[in-house]
Amino acid sequence: MATQEVRRPYPSPEREAADDGVALLRYMLLMRFLEERAMNLYRQGKVPGSFYDGFGQEAVSTGAAYAMAPEDRLCVLHRDLAAHLVRGVEPARVLAQYMGRAGGITRGRDGNVHFGDPSLGCVGMVSMLPDMMLVATGMAMAFKLRREPRVALTWFGDGSTSRGDWHEAMNWAGVQRLPVIFVLENNQYAYSTPLSKQFAVDPVQRAGAYGFPGVTVDGNDVEAVHAVTREARERALAGAGPTMIEAVTMRMHGHAAHDDMRYVPPELLEEWSRRDPVERQERRLAERGVDVEAVRNEVRAEVDRATEEALAMPMPEPSQATEGVFCEGEAVPLGDGRPVR
């Protein structure tokens, strides 16, 4: 698992904007098609347990992850598949992960989006939300202590803002002015719980009381998310401390595959479906003269190939179930010392 080979490069933030726009679309599409495929596999009984997706929120993970450099470190959350793809996780391994196959990122040990590829500088989330806020804060703390020009970033949901760890991370990051970016994915619901039961005031307004800016961005505009994250990253690198970004979006599917979302007013879904982030970026690129259909076809073909590949992967060996609880060798830091991507 801790294979640390050099992986294929990913688009650098220094690229041309037009080119970036296509890359952004590509990752959003890849996330969407992969999740759609995974949902089919789930319906076919090939994905054990439950299945969670980020339909309608693809811009948030894509835009933010794309603004990060290879040496930055990410804690990726459950609606943020695109972040893994941006970092370079192969689609086949994602599908294998969902299906609990030996070739999945966690080799069947964990499910769903509970993974991170250490060689790509990502820590997989734990279910307990938003525990990863503190992990990201700790990574940023190490960067600052070592005077490395690197940034940590993590996502979290509107519901997650209610837990104590959220506060401890915000406070810590503020006191120490750490190079960390917190992306609040405000998708209107936490499972069935609407914002009004979660907080009295939008949490982005709390940022100031922790000593750093909170900015709200249209979470369905991938270029806007990208731009605002890039700025936050520059602030962090300049020693100006953390930024909280609130990306306003909508969870267009149920909390998980079993959830019929009765509790969401249909008008709300309708309204948000008109703001679909993928279609929006497609329209934008079409105006810029990009052959969007070609990109879609390319991505679709990639997902088809990935599906075949993943389905060919074996299930893990039962005999391995008890291996690796402890690290027996050297502790290899997350993607350390190497161009992780």
Binding site: G111, M128, L129, R163, Y191, S192, F199, M315, P316, A321
Partner: protein, 319 residues
């Protein structure tokens, strides 16, 4: 026939009807009826004051429940999964557990913990956390295996003036079925002989009672007793010692990670108090000390299976 899940709903509903101090708190339990639908329909019947959707905050759920309890309410908290109690651990262990001893103040809260594995829930949706609370003074811990006991023990838990962890095994929700008395009744926090026997006793609780029964149903003609603990705190020492005295051979089955689990306590108790009655080692079958893996072949490899229990019993019978 009522399922284990329906029995829990039923017990909670009946007790809410019987006692207006009872209120339910948890994430997504009102409008949505709970992740497992235990409180489905409760909002309509009891209204939002008694069926409260809380913010995503387990310490908050336990802590505010404690506050409400000390001024006279009987809160029933739902953890969406038992695993999340780790986030409310301090309030439960340090505030609720020690309150009565320190200041004579009762904390009648019930914490419902949907626990256990067997359906690819992975490392964070499959845990059996009961031993942590057995090792925390002042907290009662019950873990029913049948619908009848699930209902009765939930009512007992709610009526108990102390904090009670109510372990409801997710894998039993729809699998375990049985007759359940109507109305309200209390199941005592004592063990129950699930099947009498005399050659060997398998001691278990929760889902493992079913594994034990299945494993020993037809074991080369041996008459195997199955003791269903039902309650872990208080632990029915008399019943355990009695079974051991009669059977002389013991297998303790526990779905939790082996080290320092409930099974370890039961085995240690027997090793001290029933040493003279033993005709063989006290055998434990448990999940090894690993996070519960997601993928079915891995998960099946670690959870105590019918076959593993069978094998352990056979070996011990031949001892």
């Amino acid at each position: 026939m009522t399922t284990y899940l329906e029995a829990i709903s039923d017990g909670l509903r009946e007790e809410m009807r019987a006692d207006d101090r009872v209120l339910c708190m948890g994430e997504d339990i009102a409008d949505f009826g709970g992740a497992f639908k235990v409180t489905d329909g409760f909002l309509a019947e009891f209204g939002p004051d008694r069926v409260m959707d809380t913010p995503l905050a387990e310490s908050g759920i336990v802590g505010t429940a404690i506050g409400a309890a000390v001024v006279g309410m009987r809160p029933v908290c739902e953890m969406q999964f038992a695993d999340f109690i780790a986030c409310g651990f301090d309030q439960l262990v340090n505030v609720a557990g020690k309150m009565h001893y320190r200041q004579g103040l009762a904390v009648p809260i019930t914490v419902r913990l949907p626990s256990g594995g067997g359906f690819s829930g992975g490392p964070f949706h499959s845990q059996n956390p009961e031993a942590w609370f057995m090792h925390a003074p002042g907290i009662k811990v019950v873990a029913p295996s049948t619908p009848e006991d699930a209902k009765g023990l939930l009512i007992s838990a709610i009526r108990d003036p102390n904090p009670v962890c109510f372990l409801e095994h997710k894998h039993l929700y729809r699998r375990a079925k049985g007759e359940v008395p109507a109305g309200t009744y209390e199941t005592p926090m004592t063990a129950r002989v699930a099947r009498p026997g005399e050659d060997l006793v398998v001691i278990a609780y929760g889902a493992m009672v079913h594994t034990a029964l299945e494993a020993t149903d037809d074991l080369d003609g041996a008459r195997v007793e199955v003791l269903d603990l039902r309650s872990l705190v208080p632990l029915d020492e008399a019943a355990i010692l009695d079974s051991v005295r009669r059977c002389s051979k013991v297998v303790v089955v526990d779905e939790a990670n082996r080290t320092c689990a409930a099974g370890a306590e039961v085995a240690a108790l027997i090793a001290q108090r029933a040493f003279e009655d033993l005709d063989g080692p006290v055998v434990r079958v448990a999940t090894p000390d690993v996070p519960i893996p997601f993928s079915p072949p891995l998960e099946q490899a670690v959870l105590p299976s019918v076959d593993r229990v069978k094998e352990a019993c056979r070996e011990l019978l031949e001892y």
